[in-house]
Structure formats: structure tokens, C-alpha cells
């Protein structure tokens, strides 16, 4: 049977992607898809794509049902979809769950924000191996037995030895006729990258601020993952002291101490030093805070660490300042004063609210570094 359904299906997906692209800002702002992230895919709830028709208003219709109960009793089990099997109009806001791979999502983000491809830095020292079945061997496991080749070998041998009878073409392979598929290892050099997320979790960072960081991190992650094959992410939280945590903790912790940003930078630097030699890794430190630091003294320490230790090894250092009622926003000004806005490897971005996430992502990733 020749179905063209696969083509229709990809056409449908194309339309869906177009819709997501159109409404990207909405999806980014709501951050609803993050919770629905699987291993390689994201499930995105879209409003049902329906072909408009003349139909009766929803809920006007009612219908006929069956079962016990007296007038006034609710009709059990949720919404009755249709009064009757065929009564065409189906009320209710159905949502259409569409699975997109993270790669597809990154493409949409990239196209919509016109993000440049990242030019990886450093040597392609990291090796990744892929195995490809490309050859034939005389030894191997039975599961890889190549039936046709084995048969041919046996046929050849039987003809050569004169035991082949065309009237009764029975071929019996012996051990040395056996052929197996074999593989070759393909070694490819890849650029690897590590993203180090740092976040201020001091008392002034509220839930809304964290939600913004979380959403932004999700999209940055999605994009960088599409650009690098093996990407690692590390998470550092800090108030007056810094510690490394897992992803979950990163977004959920709320501490209430003072703020020493330098503690995070120091930890970040240590992490790089011990685990990510800059010759092998593309390094992306991201720091999110509301811009409050304990003292001018600490800020000077921060600039120092940045200048001496972090910037030389990083592709780009990104600082995102989330607007908060309690934050002074001073750190942004300090960074700006110190590095200027046109610095090659420092990107500063202010995120005023959820609406600002998309622009901020563009700020960070728009340079293609």
C-alpha cells in the first residue's frame, strides 16, 4: 500500500513548527514547556488546530446520555465530549500535544531570533567514536550473521568442490563459509562545551526572579546543545558563600544570607581549573543575580577574578540581571563601567520581567561566540 501519510505528517509538523515560531514569545514567556521536557523531546501543548465551520456554540447543546441519576445530578466523569457519537461539533478546548525534539526547538529559536551559528573556539581535541557497520568479517557473533554472503560463500565452495547439484540445490554452509557484518570505528573530533550557571539565591531573589532564570537557562541550554555535541552543565548557587548543586536544587533553593558574588566566581574558576582545561573546552559562565553585592570591595574582587581568571578562558561571560524589588542593580552598572558595553567577551543583559526573556536570550547568544 502506498500511503502518503508520512508526507502529510511532516507537512502537519511543519505547520505546527510555524505556529510555535509565530508564538515563540508566548511559549518562552510562559515557560510551560520546561516542565514537559523528556530526554530528547519537549511536549508542547498547542491549541487544537481546527478547521473552522459553522457550528453551534459550545455548551449550548447538551445531549442525550445513559445511566442512573435524577434531574440535576451532574453527568459524571468530566466533560461529555459529544452528545452523540456522530454529532459533529465537539466542544471543549482540546489541546494538541506536539512532541518536538530539542534540536527542532533550537532551530526554531535560532531562526526566530536570527541567532548566528557559534564558531567554536580551541582545538578539536575531543574525540567521539561512532560505530558503523561497513564491512564483512569471517568471524563474529551469530546475531550479525550475513545470510546472503554466507550463502554465496557456501555456494562457491560447493560448486568448486563439485558437490553442488542443480537439480537439488541444497546448500549447507560450514563454519568457514560464515560471514558476519563487521563495524569500523569512526573517530571524530568534536568541540565540547561546558555551561556554568551561577545564581544569586540570596533573600532578594524571589520566586518570580528564579522562574525567569529557569526559563532563560532552559532556552540557552537548548540552543547551546544544538551547537555542541557533548555539552555539560554545572550549577553554582551563592549567597554569602557558594556551592555547587544539581539542577533541581539550583532552581529551587532559596537562602537568605547576604551576597558575596566573588564566592561564586571563585568556585567557578576552581571548577574550570580542575575539570575543564580551556584548550579542550568551550566555556560559558552565566551569572544571574538581582545586582546586589555585599560591598564595593567584593565587587572589586569580582572584577579582578573576571579579568584575570575567567575571561581569558571563557568563550564569553554572560551576566543577566533580573529586576527585583529589593535589588539595587548596582552590579550591572559596575560591570558596565568596568568593561564597557562593547567588550568582546562580556555580555550584559537586563531582564525586567518575563517578557524580557526573549530579548535577553538574543543578547547573550546573538554574538555567535
Amino acid at each position: 500500500m502506498i500511503y502518503n501519510i508520512k508526507r502529510d505528517h511532516s507537512r502537519f509538523r511543519q505547520i505546527v513548527k510555524g505556529k510555535i515560531k509565530q508564538d515563540l514569545k508566548k511559549y518562552v514567556t510562559h515557560g510551560e514547556m520546561i516542565g514537559r521536557k523528556g530526554k530528547d523531546t519537549v511536549t508542547i501543548p498547542l491549541p487544537q488546530i481546527e478547521i473552522p465551520r459553522f457550528r453551534f456554540g459550545e455548551k449550548e447543546q447538551g445531549g442525550v446520555g445513559q445511566g442512573d441519576g435524577k434531574p440535576g445530578d451532574p453527568v459524571g466523569q468530566g466533560e461529555p465530549k459529544e452528545g452523540q457519537g456522530q454529532a459533529g461539533s465537539s466542544p471543549g478546548e482540546h489541546s494538541l500535544d506536539v512532541d518536538l525534539t530539542l534540536q527542532e526547538l533550537a532551530e526554531i529559536l535560532g531562526e526566530q531570533l536570527e541567532l548566528p551559528k557559534i564558531e567554536p573556539r580551541g582545538h578539536r581535541t575531543l574525540k567521539s567514536k561512532t560505530e558503523r557497520y561497513s564491512g564483512i568479517a569471517s568471524q563474529g557473533p551469530n546475531s550479525l550473521r550475513h545470510f546472503k554472503r554466507t550463502f554465496k560463500e557456501a555456494l562457491k565452495r560447493q560448486i568448486a568442490s563439485g558437490t553442488y547439484n542443480p537439480d537439488r540445490p541444497v546448500i549447507v554452509p560450514v563454519k568457514k563459509d560464515m560471514r558476519f557484518r563487521s563495524w569500523k570505528s569512526d573517530v571524530r573530533h568534536e568541540n565540547n562545551a561546558v555551561v556554568i550557571y551561577m545564581m544569586d539565591v540570596s533573600g532578594s531573589m524571589g520566586d518570580e526572579q528564579k522562574e525567569i532564570v529557569r526559563t532563560e537557562a532552559f532556552w540557552i541550554d537548548t540552543w547551546l546543545r544544538s551547537q555542541y555535541k557533548g555539552i555539560e552543565t554545572r550549577y553554582i548557587i551563592h549567597d554569602a558563600s557558594a556551592r555547587e548543586v544539581d539542577e533541581d536544587t539550583f532552581f529551587k533553593t532559596r537562602e537568605s544570607g547576604g551576597t558575596l558574588i566573588s564566592s561564586a566566581y571563585k568556585l567557578c574558576q576552581k571548577l574550570i581549573e580542575t575539570e575543564y582545561p580551556p584548550s579542550d573546552w568551550n566555556i560559558y559562565p552565566f551569572h544571574f543575580s538581582d545586582g546586589d553585592n555585599w560591598s564595593g570591595e567584593d565587587t572589586r574582587v569580582c572584577m579582578d577574578i573576571l579579568e584575570k581568571d575567567l575571561l581569558p578562558v571563557s568563550n564569553v561571560f554572560c551576566y543577566g540581571q533580573v529586576e527585583s524589588r529589593y535589588g539595587s542593580g548596582q552590579f550591572y552598572k559596575d560591570l558596565k563601567e568596568h568593561f564597557g558595553t562593547e567588550h568582546d567577551s562580556v555580555i550584559l543583559s537586563k531582564i525586567e520581567n518575563k517578557e524580557g526573556i526573549l530579548q535577553s536570550i538574543k543578547d547573550f547568544l546573538g554574538k555567535g561566540r
Binding site: 502529510d8 473552522p52 447538551g62 445531549g63 442525550v64 446520555g65 452523540q84
Partner: protein
């Protein structure tokens, strides 16, 4: 697809079962089209279901969307399609490979009863039995248009057409109506002018003229004439339900658009009887698969599985009417009533419930009656004629309505009359609003005026707007629809990219 792949044919063991079931089918007096069974896997059956049963359809994204949903539903274990059968001669039926043996037997019996229904029910009599080829031809046609005009352009136009796909007249094929003669142009300024002196009586003697034709009389005549011209110029002369054919005749379409619209219309008419007879058709198939399985085919080891699956098929969810269940119960009820003679004047006039309950004249006409019903009825007449008070009570049917105060659906009534009324309303015109073309030259500006025959339910205005927008793209001028909102006549229009509403 026929014969193009051999692994779809029935394997020998199933073929044997098929022959056996075919024999029983004939012995029970069913007269189906020949059925060609094909074995398909879940992906194939999901594809086919998305395509409405036809392996070759024109390219369109909505088939892909349905496929997406069906595949996911299957993967998540929410739903499974056991079989599909299409109304062609011979009929093609697809069996899911993974069905258990007892399922396959049931499904075959079920399919044969469908094929019998297709062949013998009056409402299917006008359908194209070579639809497999026709669908394939449609596909070729539309693919060619796509090659020529671009996929987006054509697909976009198909989307427009699909918004009005339901505006057909399912009774039209039976009315013997002749095709209307085409009118070259609806806007004809020449005809617009009234004759200089309407309705004047002729007289040789000019001095008599002012007496024979007084001014008041002339004015009156003039007015009447104008009215008459206006009336005769209204196209269509009477509201026309087949909006698609009206558009085919009068809309300013390019050749390829004309063909696309006519493809959509053909397919809509082809599928219409299936929607008109859903309860009857599924009921009939369920009636016979139960009968054939329990009386002839099942062996002891299969009984439990059969009953389990059968109960699943016939299960009713609260607030939802299962056409399989209603259908099969109604056929059984009719059979029983005609077997015992529970019909006619004498029975109807009997007041004693006990007597009625025990009523048995031993007529044995039941089987004959249900065959007659399957030949002549559609869902509307089926329910209208045969749903009795006893039946409604036995099946515990009720009507429900949405209660805005509690924001939920609630049981409204158990009165048989109300239940029937509601059910019939939903079955009439397949549960959709009745829309007619009223005027193809509205306001003498070549605008299209539709009319919603109001039957108590408002149109969904958001959807109506989108539909008007799409219609306006086909008509290329202002499109309006006359409807009623809260008892007042209202006109919704789409003019130059803008919506407007006014009370009439």
C-alpha cells in the same frame, strides 16, 4: 494497492475462518458486497484511519494531524482500531494483525454486516462504489495542481474549501433535482432598469389615457413590477442548502479552484450517508457479529474473551451515547416487538401495563422487520419511528444540559419525548446548523448572503467569523450570514477584511 503487496492477504487459517463466516452470513440472509480483507499493522491502520479508509488521498496536513493523534493514542494505549471497512464494491476491510483469533472472527462477522448495510441501505444507494479509484484520481488531480500552482497555494485553498465542506444537502441525491442553468452574471445593470411605462393599458385614444391609466394605478404597477423583478432576479430563487454547488456555479473561481472545490464536494457527498446512518450501521454490524459469534462460531474457550471485548465495544460512558449500543438494542427491541406483535392500534390502545408486558401474538415477524428497517431507514427515521417509551426507560436514557450556574453538565430530563426530541435534533443535519444560500447578489452588489435556519441554538460566533473569512476568500466579495442571537435577527458580515455585526 490491490495485489501490490502480498503479505497483506489473509493467511490460510484466517481465510478458512473467513469462508466459514461468509457461509453463516449467507445463511442468515445477509447479502453483502464481496469483501477483500487485508492484514495491516498498527501503523498502517492508523494511517488508513487518518485517511478515512482510503490508501490514496490527496495530500493534506489534516490527515497528518489525525495520524499523529491516532498514533499517539495507540502508543499510549488509549485506543486501538480493530478494523476498518470501506463502502465500495467489492468492499475493502482492514484487519489489525495483532488482533487475537477471536477478535478476528468477530471483526469479520462485523465487517460482513457493514458490507451488507452498504449494499442494501437506501441511503447508500447513490454513493460511488468505485470510490477507491475516484479518490486516487482526486489525489492525482490535486497533486498536479500543486505542481503547477505550488503546494501552499493549493493547500491553502483546500483549507478554505474544508471550512464549508459540511454545507451540503444530503437529501439532494434523492430529490432528482435538475442542475440549475447557469446564469452568466448575477449583476446585470441592463436588467436593472425598469420598463419605461409598466403595466399601462393600451389605448388608441390618447385623451382616454389619463382615465384608463390614472397616476395612482401606474405608480402601483410600477412598484409591483419592481418587486417582481427583484424577486425573479434573486439567485437562488429559493434558499439553497447545497452551498458548495452554488459556489461551484457562481463563485469567481479559477479552473483549478473549481476542480478542487468539486473534489471536496464529491468526497463530502460520498461520506454523508455514513454520518446519516452511524447508529443503524454500527448497530446492524454489532447485532450480527453477536448473533453469528454466539450462535455459530465461538468455541467454549473463546466465550469469555468474546464477551469481554463485546462488552467493551457496547459500553456506555456517562454523558455519551454509544451508537453501537443504541443501535444494537433498538434492532433487538424491534425484532422482539414484531415477533410478539407488540405494535399496531390494538397494542397502542391497551392501557394495562401487565398485559402489554406479556403481550405475545406469536407473529414471528421480527427478523423480517429488521431487514426491512435496515433497507429503508436512516438514523433519524430509525429513532423517530422505533424508539419507544419502554425502550428509553429500559436503557435509562436522559437528556443533559449545561448549567451555567454550576458550570457543569447536569441531567435535565428523563421524559421520552424530550430524549427523542434532543436525539433527533442532533441527528438531523448531522448535528450541525442548517445553512442556506439566500442571495448571490445581495444588495445588488454581488455579495453573498447565507441564512442560518434558526432552531433554538445560537451559532458559535467565533467559528462563524472564521468561516465567513474563509468564504469571503472564495467569493471574493462581502459575505454575510443571517442568524438569530437571543431571539433577534442578526447579520454577521465579513467586509474587506473586517467583521461587522448588526441587528436586523
Amino acid at each position: 494497492m490491490r495485489g501490490s503487496y502480498s503479505d497483506s492477504a489473509l493467511p490460510a487459517d484466517l481465510e478458512k475462518i473467513r469462508e466459514e463466516i461468509r457461509r453463516h452470513v449467507a445463511q442468515y440472509g445477509l447479502d453483502p458486497f464481496e469483501v477483500i480483507f487485508e492484514m495491516v499493522d498498527s501503523d498502517q491502520i492508523n494511517s488508513l484511519a487518518a485517511l478515512g479508509g482510503f490508501p490514496v488521498r490527496y495530500p493534506h496536513w489534516r490527515f497528518g494531524m489525525d495520524y499523529d493523534q491516532l498514533s499517539k493514542g495507540y502508543e499510549w494505549g488509549l485506543q486501538k482500531i480493530y478494523e476498518m471497512v470501506i463502502n465500495t464494491s467489492p468492499s475493502y476491510a482492514y484487519l489489525m494483525k495483532s488482533n487475537s483469533l477471536v477478535d478476528q472472527k468477530t471483526v469479520m462477522a462485523h465487517v460482513y454486516a457493514h458490507a451488507d448495510f452498504f449494499k442494501n441501505n437506501y441511503w447508500f444507494s447513490m454513493t460511488n462504489r468505485k470510490m477507491l479509484d475516484t479518490m486516487a484520481n482526486h489525489a492525482v488531480k490535486i497533486r498536479n495542481f500543486m505542481d503547477r500552482h505550488g503546494q501552499d497555494t493549493v493547500e491553502n485553498f483546500i483549507d478554505r474549501c474544508l471550512t464549508i465542506e459540511n454545507l451540503i444537502d444530503p437529501y439532494l441525491p434523492f430529490s432528482g433535482a435538475k442542475k440549475r442553468t447557469a446564469v452568466s452574471s448575477l449583476m446585470d445593470p441592463q436588467q436593472e432598469q425598469l420598463p419605461a411605462e409598466p403595466g399601462r393599458f393600451k389605448t388608441e385614444r390618447s385623451y382616454m389615457d389619463s382615465f384608463i391609466n390614472p397616476k395612482e394605478f401606474l405608480d402601483e404597477q410600477k412598484k409591483r413590477m419592481a418587486e417582481k423583478i427583484k424577486k425573479s432576479k434573486t439567485v437562488p430563487a429559493e434558499p439553497q442548502k447545497d452551498v458548495l454547488s452554488f459556489l461551484l456555479e457562481y463563485a469567481p473561481l479559477e479552473q483549478w479552484q473549481h476542480e478542487v472545490l468539486s473534489v471536496i464536494r464529491d468526497e463530502a457527498y460520498y461520506f454523508a450517508p455514513q454520518a446519516q446512518t452511524k447508529i443503524m450501521n454500527e448497530g446492524w454490524a454489532s447485532y450480527w457479529h453477536s448473533k453469528i459469534m454466539t450462535e455459530r462460531v465461538l468455541d467454549d474457550s473463546e466465550v469469555i474473551d468474546f464477551c469481554d471485548h463485546n462488552a467493551g465495544v457496547l459500553a456506555m460512558q456517562p454523558g455519551r451515547l454509544n451508537p453501537y449500543k443504541i443501535g444494537v438494542e433498538l434492532y433487538r427491541d424491534i425484532e422482539d416487538r414484531w415477533n410478539r406483535g407488540k405494535f399496531g392500534k390494538e397494542y397502542d390502545e391497551c392501557d394495562d401495563l401487565m398485559t402489554k408486558a406479556k403481550w405475545d401474538r406469536g407473529l414471528g415477524l421480527g427478523r423480517k422487520k429488521i431487514f426491512e428497517v435496515r433497507r429503508v431507514c436512516n438514523d433519524v427515521t430509525f429513532i423517530d419511528e422505533f424508539m419507544t417509551e419502554e425502550f428509553c426507560e429500559r436503557l435509562k436514557l436522559y437528556t443533559y444540559a449545561f448549567n451555567r450556574r454550576t458550570n457543569q453538565y447536569e441531567i435535565a430530563d428523563r421524559d421520552t419525548k424530550k430524549v427523542k426530541e434532543k436525539l433527533l435534533f442532533q441527528l438531523t443535519n448531522m448535528g450541525q446548523p442548517q445553512i442556506f444560500v439566500k442571495d448571490g447578489n445581495y444588495q445588488n452588489k454581488g455579495e453573498l448572503l447565507l441564512w442560518h435556519k434558526f432552531e433554538g441554538l445560537d451559532l458559535d460566533s467565533k467559528w462563524a467569523r472564521e468561516t465567513l473569512r474563509s468564504l469571503a476568500e472564495i467569493w471574493k466579495r462581502t459575505v454575510s450570514i443571517e442568524t438569530e442571537v437571543e431571539g433577534q435577527k442578526k447579520l454577521l458580515s465579513f467586509i474587506d477584511g473586517e467583521f461587522s455585526e448588526k441587528f436586523l
